[in-house]
């Protein structure tokens, strides 16, 4: 202990406002959702307060299981794609001159200002058969006839990665720009080729940042619900789409709430697991 005097109310005053906002806009709505997930659904009506596990029992269906797995799969895959492209990309940005770095970062930020809807429809056009990129490849003589890459899994993966990529770079940028430039130089004087230096020293010493950005993109992409509907077929719909469907079109709030909470629980477990594995690896190499 530092032996400080107990703080008076005045010293706590500055945190009252954020604490209040957190309470009003996060904790109370979340509590409401937890409560609703145990309420009884009135078919044709809304719901009546109660305490039953019916909603959670109803989750045990093939559709829910398949969608849950697909959601986790596409989130994990897009996180892997984003980090494996974003990490070398961010590394090259941080080695540029200051001015060039700023230009790149501003460009990435401006991508963030596009709404998910615009990005979704833009990609649906770009990947379509009639007006898409495949026409360009036909024109160059690389393909025989234009094909439709949309709607489908590829289109969905493209869309999600496009949205998540700027976040990946922004999360990786601080730790990569703080990397001591002497570290890769030292590796080179010790006989490591540039490729070997990249994997043994740069990736190695920034493992925590890589795990953090992977988790961030994973959690972020779990929440997309517009893109699967625009770019995917119904079998590419994620759990977020299913929850929206239950809540808005089926007016089954208790079911939607239980889905959301179960989904959150599973993803939280996965995130914790990832972090434990990341830590464990580090402890082993220590």
């Amino acid at each position: 202990m530092t032996g400080e005097k107990p703080k008076s109310l005045r010293t706590h005053l500055p945190v009252v406002y954020p604490a209040l906002m957190l309470c009003i806009f996060f904790i109370i709505p979340f509590g409401l959702m937890v409560a609703v997930s145990f309420f009884h659904r009135e078919p044709g009506g809304f719901y009546i307060p109660g305490f039953e596990f019916t909603n959670y029992r109803n989750l045990y269906t093939a559709l829910f299981g398949r969608t849950l797995l697909f959601s986790l799969y596409i989130a994990g895959l897009s996180a892997a794609v984003c980090v494996s492209i974003g990490f070398p990309f961010t590394y090259f940005i941080t080695r540029m001159r200051r001015r060039a770095q700023v230009v790149w970062l501003v460009f990435l930020m401006s991508v963030l200002s596009l709404s998910e809807v615009i990005v979704g429809f833009a990609w649906s056009l770009l990947l379509s058969r009639t007006a898409g990129l495949s026409n360009l490849l036909v024109w160059f003589g690389l393909m025989d006839k234009p094909v439709a890459w949309y709607p489908g899994f590829t289109a969905l993966l493209f869309g999600i990665c496009y949205i998540a990529f700027p976040y990946t770079v922004l999360v990786l940028y601080p730790s990569l720009s703080r990397l001591d430039p002497a570290l890769p130089e030292a590796a080179q004087t010790l006989g490591a080729t540039p490729i070997k230096t990249f994997f043994t020293v740069i990736v190695g010493s920034l493992r925590n940042a890589i795990v953090a950005s992977f988790v961030m993109v994973f959690v972020f992409t779990l929440g997309v619900y517009l893109l699967p509907q625009i770019l995917g077929r119904p079998r590419h719909w994620t759990l977020s789409v299913l929850i929206t469907d239950q809540a808005i079109y089926q007016t089954n709030m208790p079911m939607a709430a239980s889905m959301a909470i179960f989904f959150m629980f599973v993803s939280l477990m996965l995130v914790l697991l990832t972090m434990v594995i990341g830590k464990g690896k580090q402890a082993k190499s220590a």
């Binding site: 130089e185 030292a186 080179q188 004087t189 490591a192 190695g204 580090q282």
Partner: protein, 352 residues
Amino acid sequence: MADLTLEDIHKKFGSVIAAQDVNLDLPDGQFVCFLGPSGCGKTTLLRLIAGLENPTRGRILLGGQNITRTPAHKRNFGMVFQSLALFPHLTVGENVAYSLRVRHADKAAQHKRAAELLDLVQLSGFMDRHIAQLSGGQRQRVAIARALAIEPQLFLLDEPLSALDAKLRESMQLELRELQQRLGVTTILVTHDQREAMTMSDLVVVMGPDNRVHQVDSPLEIYRNPADTFVADFIGSSNLLEGSYSGSGEITIGEKRLVLEELPENLSSGTPVTVSVRPEDILVLPGAEEGNNRLHGTVAFVRDVGSSVEIYLNCNGVQIISQSTPKSRPEVRQGDKATAILPAAACVVLKS
């Protein structure tokens, strides 16, 4: 066998000159110091030798072989960086064995070599420690061990001791010198600390703020016979007196005459010169004594720090500093008239 030669090296970063007209011949097995103020290009020169930068012009030869365009990872030099650049995600042993790991040595050989080197730098038993658990001096030793793991042809050090406190720095200097002599590896150390350079090196390369090499010589020779005013001023403290050559081995300073033993050739009468005299060579006597090589003045200040006494004399506007031991301390006080004797052998004439 592996003499290092720099031929006509120039290095520019954009329009900024980092090093120019560098011609050096560094013999095998010597401890060389690149000494100079910050921004003089000494680190750039070391990075050029390590292969981390490419010279704008000139050649680098090692044992007669041109290595100017050889990439850093093929040069087999060991380098200790100013920030040490230890790999934070690896253990002490893994750091030391890194150069063997990238050369695909087997695990047992890596472990054996790492243990040998940790013994060499007196860190036995630190093999499995984490870098974050070490003190500054211990990290220093790990960085040195790592650079020596492949028995490099050249051992390069970029101000590695500057982050240590004064006591530790002095003992590391001696240790490093002893290690170099034991291994016989050609070593280049970059420093801005002239005491450090004098302690360790066989050969000192003095670089100036104009990014050129001013003098290459043994430490004592540089101290005794500085090549120019910059070197005289930078290496230790020196009294620099402006005067002019008056012919027949004499130099006039104000109204006084200095008779010198050695003079540069081709000096014509009336040429302005600078004379450098080290403070410890100047003798101070009370009162005004006439004769050659004697300057008269008043004592402006006496700095007595116990181990040495410095006397500041004001001789008609020229400040002369004399240093003596407490035993041979002249009997003068502040405000007294005194005479400074500048022995002929101690006066060095410099190019102005």
